[in-house]
């Protein structure tokens, strides 16, 4: 699944990391693919740097397994942006095809793949978003976050016909606030675009979060009992259930592909 937002600074990268970690806690394997060209990359956030990159992979100088970094033993890995992920969409189709084939072989070893996309509406975001099976749009209750994410959904819908999305409301102070934000998006998407939005969950503001970022560790690992950690686990459970329900379609389709926008 790809995780995206119309506006930056809504906590996408942190959410992605923690969701993957929550799944890992459930004995599920997950790999994060950092697709953001920006500065706040996962590898930076976690203080790791990869040795081999996509070029090595393409030229046969590295195996797919060698370009990933282990975040946790046995089942939580990262494919860092520094290895050339964001540049992937700028390559021509032949080249992309070759890389996707190699990457898909790698990804099929995991139960979950999360693409952490950059904020906003640009070619890279759009291209990656259409490649995954599912899409999670991260919003905050702020109106500007709503309009920017709405714009992203609108473009993905008009350009690729994508017509269902999961919404995750981050940085809320109350359940009511989360509900209001979600409802507005949902109704606007239905009314103006004919697009269906599902509620994936809400994550509350948490004073521990900045500390976790400083520690360069997933906060649900360091602060397992905080409110935000509990929220994340609920969302992870929902994702697990969703995957169970769609297991067949997932198994029948390539992990990343241009055709994935139509599989459901």
């Amino acid at each position: 699944m790809s995780i995206m937002s119309g506006k930056g600074g809504v906590g996408k990268t942190n959410l992605t990391l923690n969701l993957a970690y929550a799944l890992y806690e459930n004995y599920k394997s997950a790999i994060l693919m950092d697709c953001d060209l920006g500065l706040a990359n996962l590898d930076v956030l976690l203080g790791i740097s990869p040795e081999k990159n996509m070029q090595d992979l393409l030229q046969g100088e590295a195996e797919a397994g060698e370009i990933v970094c282990a975040l946790e033993k046995n089942g939580l890995d990262l494919l860092p942006a520094a290895s050339g992920v964001p540049e992937l969409v700028e390559l021509d189709e032949d080249l992309q095809g070759v890389l996707l084939e190699k990457l898909n072989k790698l990804f099929s070893r995991y139960e979950f793949l999360f693409l952490d996309l950059g904020a906003g509406i640009n070619n890279a975001v759009l291209s990656f978003a259409r490649m995954t099976h599912e899409r999670i749009v991260v919003i905050t209750p702020e109106p500007t976050s709503l309009t920017d994410s709405y714009a992203l959904i609108k473009v993905l819908n008009s350009k690729y016909g994508l017509n269902h999305f999961y919404l995750l409301v981050n940085m809320v102070d109350s359940d009511r606030e989360a509900k209001t934000g979600f409802e507005r998006m949902k109704v606007a998407c239905e009314k103006f675009l004919g697009v269906t939005c599902h509620f994936l969950g809400a994550v509350h503001n948490d004073p521990n979060l900045p500390l976790a970022v400083r520690d360069q560790k997933p906060f649900i690992k360091n602060y397992p009992d905080s409110r935000a950690s509990r929220d994340i686990r609920i969302i992870a459970d929902r994702i697990l259930a969703l995957r169970g329900a769609k297991a067949e379609a997932i198994a029948q389709n390539p992990v990343l592909s241009w055709g994935n926008d139509n599989i459901y």
């Binding site: 070759v98 709405y150 714009a151 609108k154 507005r184 606007a188």
Partner: protein, 283 residues
């Protein structure tokens, strides 16, 4: 003027190509098997830093060089690779230039035109595109021979270079067809510039033969000024300029015709409309 001569890319292209095949032979003997296109492309980018993959590939395909490069890149024959990359560099340098006149060529012009139109739209500054065509050029060629025809083209190019500003671009885009890109020039300013160009050309004349006979030549100019309003691409701009050129020819040649043009309005300038925004803000 033969087409072959026009499309030539530089004086020593033949020489380069023969050196390439020599290199290729050396390398081919050194490597077993072959590699795929994609591997070639990656290797290409590595070598031709500063070019995007697509640019590099297009360039190499246009020159039928992709295979040769592939062999070299796999061979790790570094001296050969370096020679090859030097050859590529000179080809790249020459690829923007028109061989006969030293002006820019069509490829370069179209590239820069696209960028210029985008800037124009973004900053709402005018830009004028001109197509200039030598009047009755065929007749000059037929009566006085191709070498005199070439002189006409070169003299005219010198006038263009002289009369436009450093920020403008002059290119030869066809046999006797030239294009100008006047950055930041609106209709009035362009009209002045182009009238001056037209007059200089008409007054130039070329003396030839022992008796010092002089032939005169003229040119017709069609121009389109875009002020950054609406969506506009390079092809449409050139079409508009071409239409103006046609009018200039119709009205008796040796003339300047300019039109101000706008593009169709983008349907969705803002992705999110007012209604949608209102709804998202207040439910």
């Amino acid at each position: 003027m033969s087409d072959k001569k026009l499309s030539a890319h530089g004086v020593d292209e033949q020489e380069m190509l023969s050196e390439l095949s020599e290199l290729e032979a050396i390398v081919r003997s050194a490597i077993p098997g072959s590699a795929s296109d994609s591997e070639t492309s990656v290797a290409l980018v590595r070598l031709m830093r500063g070019l995007s993959v697509n640019e590099a590939r297009r360039f190499l395909e246009a020159h039928d060089l992709a295979d040769r490069w592939l062999c070299l890149s796999l061979s790790e024959d570094f001296p050969a690779l370096e020679r090859f990359s030097r050859l590529l560099e000179s080809l790249i340098r020459d690829r923007d230039r028109d061989y006969l006149t030293g002006l820019k060529n069509r490829r370069f012009f179209e590239n820069i035109l696209g960028r210029e139109l985008e800037l124009s739209r973004k900053f709402r500054v005018p830009v004028t595109v001109v197509i200039l065509d030598v009047d009755d050029f065929k007749q000059i060629n037929d009566t006085h021979g191709h070498s005199l025809g070439d002189r006409v083209l070169r003299d005219l190019s010198a006038i263009l270079r002289e009369e436009i500003r450093a920020t403008d671009t002059a290119a030869r885009i066809g046999g006797e067809e030239f294009a100008l890109l006047l950055s930041g020039s609106g209709m009035r300013q362009s009209e002045k510039t182009l009238e001056r160009v037209r007059e200089m050309i008409a007054r130039a004349g070329i003396s030839y033969g022992e008796g010092g006979e002089v032939i005169n030549f003229t040119a017709s100019l069609g121009a389109a000024t875009y002020r950054g309003i609406g969506q506009m691409d390079g092809d449409s701009m050139l079409e508009f300029a071409d239409k103006a050129l046609y009018r200039a020819k119709e009205k008796g040649k040796n003339r300047v015709e300019i039109s101000v043009v706008t593009g169709p309005r983008a349907k969705d300038t803002a992705v999110v409309g007012r209604e949608e925004k209102k709804f998202l803000f207040s439910g």
